[in-house]
Amino acid sequence: MKRLLTTLLALAMALSLAACGGGNGGGPAGNSLDLSSAAWEDIVEEARGTTVTFYGWGGDENRNNWLNGDVAEYVKERYDITLDVVGMNIEDILAKLSSEKEAAAQGSIDMIWINGENFYSAKENGLLYGPFTHQLPNMDKYIDPEDPETLADFSMPIEGYEAPYAKAQMVLYLDTAVTPNAPASAGELMTFCQENPGKVTYPALPDFTGSAFIRNIVYELCGWEQFQDMEADYDTVKAAVQPAIDYLVELNPYLWNQGSTFPESSNTVDTMFADGELVMSMSYGPFSVSTGIDQGLYTETTQTFVFDKGTIGNTNYMGIAFNSPNKAGAMVVIDAILSAELQLSQYATLRELPVVDFDRLSAGEQEAFGQVDLGQGVLTQEDLLRHRLPEMPAKLVPVIEEIWLNEVVGK
């Protein structure tokens, strides 16, 4: 019977090897336009009447509706482009693209919602098309070219491979009716947890939000400057973050389940907070509390706060797949999302920090942004930006996650 299995395996490999050899797929056919040197008018003309797919995380009902509504209408009216929004996790998108790259096949993904470690990996492995952002008129018109977040994403040089979409910033929140005093530093958080034993926790890494929370603690206790050019070496990083590890281990006994286990995602932490099982939660969406209050998930006394020393902020971006069948269309839609009109609509309906540079807006546009009602329980945009810290280099992120798993969980 062992022979049978071996034969089967051998057969399987032979089949796959044969398939690999023959893989040459259909290259991009009928590309009449040389995109990289084309004038914007020609790109718009090329894109007219086509369909553009936009792949990204699909678990946010409001964002899905905004994309299928405001954005889809905007590009339909102006450019006769049909926008097809597809929900898919970024890891799966990259897995799909890498399989397609291996098979040298044309794909179905045009635009991708991406940032951070995933941008680093996608760009390194040639999964993105570019550079393209220098050709977008709205990039020139509204985006500050000197902004560090325009130049680099988690310290990875962007070099025209992605355009900003929205700004995120780590915030914390609690219910002032339950716990009136918000901790303003890591030290105060320790006291806060001791006063509410078992009712505070954070999402298990590598969850985006949990990972950002830990980096935030690292920044506060170890400073952030030293990490900007650090080697991604386990021992080097571990030595640098040791004060934070000590702090987290000391925090464990007061956490939910004594820090022996952590909720697997920030969504779970949110629902536990909504149920009253936890007294504090956290989010990468700086205005998510007001949406939660509007939907009745949180009480009206829920309030956002940040530590005095600031919290990590980053931008999320839009890229184009290396094998996108409609790169011209993707460029036109990305340009549309950078327009003041859609950035304003995103700010007003989704309550996401806009990426446009305020000094570049007209007086009328500035007024419109100023009039947006952000709802209850949130900090102002100025307050957030004043407390904004830069992200850590992308390649350090997985190292810190590994250190956390080895040195903090259950210790």
Partner: protein, 290 residues
Amino acid sequence: MKKPDFTLILLLLPLALVTALVLAACGAVLLQSLGHVPAFGLAGLTLGYYRDVFHDPDFLGALAVSLSIALKSAILAAALGTALCAALVARRKTGGPMVYLVRFPILAPHAVAALFAILLLSQTGLLARLACALGLISDFPQFPQLLYTPGYEGAILAYLWKEIPFVAYFSLALMSSVSATLGEAAQNLGASPLRAFFTVTLPLSLPAISKAFLIIFIFAFGGYELPMLLGATLPKALPVQAHLTYMSPELRDRPYAMAMYGTILILSAAMARLYALLTRRLMKKLGGTV
């Protein structure tokens, strides 16, 4: 039985085509686990990734966790599912509303089963609230932690909720036909219903039940969602560990993930072989005594 002829080829052709595809898919994964990923500049074949993975204590811990989840889920689901199936047959509820009800958990995606587990069994779930309302506990930390434990009780319970009905439904057709013919004949010959069940109906229904056992074992061994949603941060279940490695933005780590998946694949195949050997021996034994 007939000798092979042209009709046989026609009968088997569709399955053969599909199997070829499946083999190619397995082969593609195994190739990557041996380090052949040309898209990321990895070429050549090596067993090094398997070696590294098997020297990693986290991986071995995960392997142990997954084996334990799979074994516990499969044994309990097979036993309780057989009981449910027998009850359905005994009460002649082999169609109609009860069978509809039984199909509901089979139909519900695993993520929904996890949702139920959290809504019912977590420390602030419905059971804990009932206990609080009845005055058994005064605050939720007193309620026993059933989910997120290193023993994976939460994931096992959720598997049971889905798989007990599966075993029952999967064996229902066979058991009801066996019971309707041979079981009743035994009763007519004077056997008590319980005796008729254990000596006639159950042994003859074993093919379906044992197949269901194997299916559940393999599924729970390779299943990702429930241990992910209901398990502990450490130790992780093997598919969770493999998935996290697979999701790692460092695409060159892909062969490690594939080596873990390859391990799941090979162990599952070994289980299936073991099962085939055992059942054949069992059948021979039964054939000898009956």
